[in-house]
C-alpha cells in the first residue's frame, strides 16, 4: 500500500522538502484498513477545515495536503508549547489502480477519511468448486 516504512506514533515533521514560506510541514498520523470492497484511510489533520484539503492521485501516488488554520488566541502570548502547528502533507504509493472518480473523502473533527473502492476486476472472485 505504501512505500514509506517510518513508524511514527506521534505527529512528526515531514523530512522533506522544506517549505519556502517558513514554518513546518507535518505528516499526518494515518490508519489504513483494507477490506474486500476497498481501502479506507483515516488521517489526523487537526486544525484543517474541509475546504482546505487537497487530494491528488497521479501515477498511483496519492498525495494529501492540508492547510492548517493557526490557533492564535488574541492578546495572549505563547508561554508553553508541546506541539507545533503547520500544514500537513503525506504521499502514499498505491499498490493497485483505484478509480480517482470513485474516491470518497470526508473531513470531520480534524480527521480525513478516504474510501478507495477497488476496481471491479480487482475484487477477489470466488470460484465455486463443483462436485464430480
Amino acid at each position: 500500500m505504501s512505500n514509506d516504512i517510518a513508524h511514527a506514533t506521534d505527529k512528526t515533521p515531514a523530512q522533506a522538502p522544506e517549505p519556502a514560506a517558513g514554518g513546518r510541514i507535518y505528516r499526518p498520523l494515518t490508519d489504513i484498513v483494507e477490506h474486500d470492497a476497498g481501502v479506507s484511510m483515516m488521517l489526523e489533520m487537526p486544525g484543517v477545515g474541509p475546504e482546505d484539503v487537497d487530494i491528488t492521485l497521479e501515477n498511483r501516488v496519492l498525495t494529501i495536503r492540508g492547510r492548517v488554520a493557526l490557533t492564535r488566541p488574541e492578546e495572549l502570548q505563547l508561554t508553553h508549547a508541546e506541539y507545533g502547528e503547520g500544514d500537513f502533507e503525506r504521499a502514499f504509493a498505491l499498490s493497485e489502480d483505484f478509480d480517482p472518480d470513485r474516491i470518497e473523502a470526508r473531513m470531520h473533527d480534524g480527521v480525513l477519511t478516504l474510501t478507495l473502492p477497488k476496481a471491479p476486476e480487482a475484487q477477489p472472485k470466488k470460484i465455486a468448486v463443483k462436485g464430480a
Binding site: A8, V33, E34, P46
Partner: protein, 142 residues
C-alpha cells in the same frame, strides 16, 4: 555523539556535563511524547488559554473540570469501527482513555471558562478573576 577529550582539560567535569546535557535533550524526549494530549499554553494579563489537538474526538467525549487552580482535561479516543474481516495495514493513531491535569497560575471559577472545538483543535479560554490580578502599588514620594 562525539565527546572531545582534549579540549577544556582544565574542567574535569566538562565531559560529564556534556553527556548529561545529551541525556536530557534526547533521552526524555520519548517519554514526553507519551503524554496525551499535547497542550500549548497562552498567557495574557486578563486570561489564559490552553489549546490541544484532539482530532477525531467528539466534543461530547471530552470532559473539562476545574477545581481551584487545577484544570483536568480527560476523555476517550474511540478506536475506529471496522467491518468484519478487515485487515489493518497501518495503525499509527492512538486510542483509549486519556486524562491530563494542568496547573493554572490562578484559581479559576467555572463561569469564567469557555471551551470551543474547531476542526479537532480544542481551545479553552480561562478568564482571570479580578481578585487574583496583580495589584499595582504606587510609590509615594517622601
Amino acid at each position: 555523539m562525539l565527546y572531545p577529550t582534549l579540549t577544556r582539560r582544565s574542567d574535569p567535569f566538562a565531559l560529564m556535563r556534556s553527556m548529561l546535557r545529551d541525556l536530557d535533550s534526547n533521552f526524555w524526549a520519548a517519554a514526553d511524547r507519551a503524554v496525551f494530549p499535547a497542550v500549548n499554553i497562552w498567557q495574557g494579563a486578563d486570561a489564559i488559554a490552553i489549546t490541544a489537538e484532539l482530532p477525531g474526538i467528539d466534543a461530547g467525549d471530552i470532559e473539562i473540570s476545574v477545581k481551584d487552580d487545577v484544570l483536568v482535561l480527560s476523555g476517550e479516543r474511540k478506536a475506529p469501527q471496522v467491518s468484519e474481516g478487515a485487515r489493518w495495514q497501518r495503525r499509527e493513531r492512538g486510542f483509549g482513555r486519556f486524562s491530563r491535569a494542568i496547573r493554572l497560575p490562578f484559581a479559576a471559577s467555572d463561569d469564567k471558562i469557555e471551551a470551543r472545538m474547531t476542526n479537532g483543535v480544542l481551545r479553552i479560554v480561562i478568564a482571570r478573576p479580578e481578585e487574583t490580578k496583580p495589584r499595582k502599588i504606587e510609590i509615594k514620594a517622601a
